[in-house]
């Protein structure tokens, strides 16, 4: 049977080669959700938008805010007004001109569409007005240091007001934006095809006629498709395939430490289930953190390719608090802490974890590590959907989850540990932390903000409502005929200046 298959394959191989180099085929880990920047919520969706929908501003690989649809901007003295100069000559894919009115309509939609998931990102915006055709002014309720970074993501993506008006909530079925590529077609779980938009203001910088995104969840298969030439680029290569990818002929690799983290969220006040040694006693949480060898974890599960961590920001981030370096594993000290807290016989805790192989592996390694310090972990594997529901409802003791990360440090911290935080599933509450993190939001001065974050870290490191473990590293692998690709810490694929030789 296999012999026959081989023969057919050999016959077919020649026809397969005929595909032109004008197409770029990118393998994604998941299928994107609805293609409407206001309703969208997946990471891969953002990868698609990077080519489809331009934003007011963008980020540099160093996370500085740089111009995109806004060419320049300035803050008023009191930090309440943000005035932006808009790019002239930019148009949406349907020919609607991009101007100040379009920005006003877009912000209005993000704030007021019932299904919009951008509301919380734009809470500080009181009003937006068109000053003239190419100038727009944001008026805030209070100074907001995070606003520009929000406008560098989905909240700042500009969609055609004409199309938005026409399609309403179904905009995602045929998205019309102003990016370098326009929407071609989409087949669920199969592909999203984008075609070059010739009237793009910077069209010359984009080499490919079409960009096709193919969701292939299995990392092994994704990598195999790259090696066989069926894909030109894949995102999120498995860390364990990194060595093989580096050795593989014709394959190039790029990496960037992500903005996100993985950790263990601990229920310290979310309902009755918080009443357990781990939830009630910060010393037990410190013992847990101390019993984990984060470097060994990284070596065993990710072959050392990821970045161990103990804070919401990776150690090489400017926001990282150097006064709290990654703790060395210390089993004796962990035991002593437990003993002091009155648990000389050790404790048993339940940890819920998503039932995917990598996260299971992480938790099994941690399970083995903490057992030596007298912390017995009982693993509860759940489907991700159930895990999230239980976490929100407080039906858990500890939960192994992560966060994809945001450009502004506020996005990695405020909503998780402030009393009213939207995703504060630990239900951690400390007035001092609330005050410090609120303060860090309003100042536009990086040094002042850093001070607030460091002060909050001093408290959070003692209380540990979230035990941080590591920061994933984005790994892209691509055909070595591709040139000019830059790795960004946000994990996006920016195609400006990217070319492929024949």
């Amino acid at each position: 049977m296999i012999a026959r298959t081989t023969m057919i394959a050999a016959l077919l191989a020649t026809t397969a080669m005929a595909a032109g180099a004008q197409e770029l085929r990118i393998g994604l880990q998941d299928d994107a959700d609805v293609l409407d920047p206001d309703q969208s919520r997946t990471f891969v969706g953002r990868i698609v938008y990077t080519s489809l929908c331009d934003k007011l501003v963008d980020i540099s690989p160093q996370l500085d805010i740089v111009p995109q649809l806004a060419t320049d901007w300035s803050w008023s003295e009191d930090g309440i007004e943000l005035t932006m100069q808009l790019r002239e000559g930019a148009t949406f894919h349907d020919g609607t001109p991009f101007n100040a009115e379009a920005v006003v309509a877009n912000i209005d939609r993000s704030q007021n569409l019932e299904e919009s998931r951008r509301k919380s990102e734009l809470t500080s915006v009181a009003s937006v007005e068109a000053v003239d055709e190419h100038t727009v002014r944001f008026t805030l309720t209070q100074p907001d240091a995070t606003l520009l970074s929000q406008l560098a993501d989905r909240a700042g993506m500009m969609i055609s007001p004409t199309a938005a008006e026409e399609m309403g909530v179904d905009f995602g079925n045929n998205p019309v934006c102003s990016g370098p590529y326009q929407f071609g077609e989409r087949v669920q779980q199969d592909r999203i095809v984008l075609n070059k938009f010739d009237d793009y203001w910077n069209a010359d910088a984009y080499a490919f006629e079409t960009v096709t995104f193919l969701p292939i969840p299995d990392t092994t298969v994704r990598f195999a498709n790259l090696r066989s030439g069926d894909l030109d680029m894949v995102e999120r290569l498995a860390a364990t395939d990194l060595a093989a990818a580096r050795e593989a002929e014709g394959v190039e690799v790029a990496t960037a430490t992500s903005l996100g983290y993985q950790g263990m969220t601990i229920n310290v006040g979310n309902g009755e289930r918080a009443a357990n040694p781990l939830g009630e006693n910060a010393a037990v949480r410190r013992a847990l953190s101390m019993a984990i060898d984060r470097n060994a974890l990284n070596q065993v599960v990710f072959e050392g390719a990821f970045a161990p961590g103990n804070q919401p920001f990776p150690p090489d981030s400017p926001w990282y608090d150097q006064d709290h370096p990654i703790p060395e594993r210390d089993v004796e000290a962990a035991r002593a802490l437990l003993e002091e807290a009155g648990f000389s016989d050790g404790v048993t805790i339940e940890v819920q974890v998503a039932n995917n192989p990598v996260q299971m592996q992480v938790m099994q390694v941690i399970q083995a590590m903490t057992a030596e310090a007298g912390i017995n972990i009982e693993l509860q594997a759940k489907e991700f959907a159930t895990l999230l529901a239980d976490q929100t409802a407080g039906a858990y003791q500890a939960s192994q989850v992560g966060w994809s990360g945001r450009v502004d440090p506020d996005g990695n911290l405020h909503q998780f540990v402030t009393t009213e935080g939207g995703i504060n599933d630990s239900k951690f509450s400390d007035p001092e932390v609330d005050r410090l993190l609120d303060e860090a939001r309003v100042s536009n001065d990086q040094a002042t903000r850093k001070e607030s974050y460091d002060a909050a870290r001093d408290i959070l490191n003692e209380e540990l409502p979230i035990v941080y473990l590591y920061h994933p590293v984005w790994i892209w692998a691509y055909d070595d005929a591709i040139d000019g690709f830059t790795a960004y810490p946000d994990g996006m694929i920016r195609l400006e200046g990217v070319t492929m030789s024949e």
Partner: protein
């Protein structure tokens, strides 16, 4: 004949209603909230509350069921919560993919299963028969998904002969489309080939000992002609009906195969939908598969009726 069909269809109606109730009830029992599952890491309570209201998830369950059924009767299977696309459109996109896979798998199964069955029956009791049986049983015993993994490992990773996954529509590039489906179809076809082989063998054995085959032999016809012309034609009746029945199962069997080879078909859609709690999609697909299965059953019965002269006379 018409009367027979009408009765079959009449009986199928309560079955279909029951299926819809089962599927709906099961969905409601699943832990986890679809809106929350969909929200992922960004959970804005306001939006979640709004979406619950919008998709009528706060209504009492029987009301939700009636709403859904009313939609189904008017050809509206609801919307996918995840992508805002109508379920009917999704099914329209996915069904051709899975049918292509099923047809190709069926071809594999027929090409391997029937000749092997005939050979095994004709050479009953010999080493050939014995070997064919062991191979057939092996085909039944090997886990599909493991066979898929092993094929990917060998054919795609080691030898780099066929793509490990990916799907090209038949209309776009027929050659490449068939090429990408070869491995999955083979994997899906193995178990079927085994079932077909075993049934062909037993049907042939029954026919080969029958009177008219003996008569044909007595008339001095060549053995080859006896087997192919007289025996096979009669043995084929149960096999044709079986094939119709198996076709329904094939669609269901595609679940894991599509998962392994990331083929964007029915099976992958439904598994992803279960994991994402995309209720409307799961309901729509299970309902469609079940109806398809029942239709295939009726077709199988009808074929049996048509092909079997004795039944027709009654």
């Amino acid at each position: 004949m018409l009367q027979f069909l009408a009765r079959r269809i009449l009986i199928a109606i309560p079955t279909v209603i029951l299926i819809s109730v089962f599927v709906f009830a099961l969905q409601k029992l699943l832990p986890g909230d679809p809106v929350l599952a969909m929200a992922g890491e960004e959970r804005d309570p306001e939006v979640i509350a709004y979406l619950r209201e919008k998709y009528r998830l706060n209504d009492p369950v029987p009301v939700q069921y009636l709403t859904w059924i009313r939609g189904v009767l008017t050809g509206d299977l609801g919307m996918s919560l995840r992508t805002n696309q109508p379920v009917l459109v999704l099914i329209g996109q996915k069904l051709p993919v899975t049918i292509q896979l099923a047809v190709m798998a069926m071809i594999f199964a027929l090409v391997i299963g029937i000749p092997a069955g005939i050979l095994s029956a004709v050479k009953k009791g010999t080493v050939t028969d014995y070997a064919a049986n062991v191979v057939a049983l092996s085909g039944l015993s090997v886990p599909n998904f493991w066979l898929g993994i092993m094929l990917i490992l060998l054919v795609s990773v080691r030898w780099q002969l066929l793509p490990a996954s990916g799907y090209v529509p038949l209309s776009e590039d027929p050659v490449r489309s068939i090429e990408t489906m070869l491995m999955p179809a083979f994997v899906l076809g193995t178990a079927l080939a085994a079932t077909l082989m075993r049934h062909t063998r037993s049907a042939m054995l029954g026919v080969l000992t029958s009177d008219y085959v003996r008569t044909a032999r007595a008339k001095g016809l060549a053995e080859r002609k006896v087997i192919l012309k007289h025996a096979l034609r009669n043995a084929l009746t149960p096999i044709v009906t079986l094939t119709a029945l198996l076709f329904g199962e094939l669609i269901a069997g595609a679940v894991l195969t599509e998962q392994i080879f990331t083929i964007p078909g029915f099976g992958k859609l439904v598994v992803d939908a279960v994991f994402n709690r995309d209720y409307a999609v799961v309901q729509g697909i299970v309902l469609c598969t079940a109806v398809g299965f029942i239709v295939m059953n009726i077709i199988a019965d009808a074929l049996y009726f048509v092909l079997n002269p004795r039944l027709r006379k009654q």
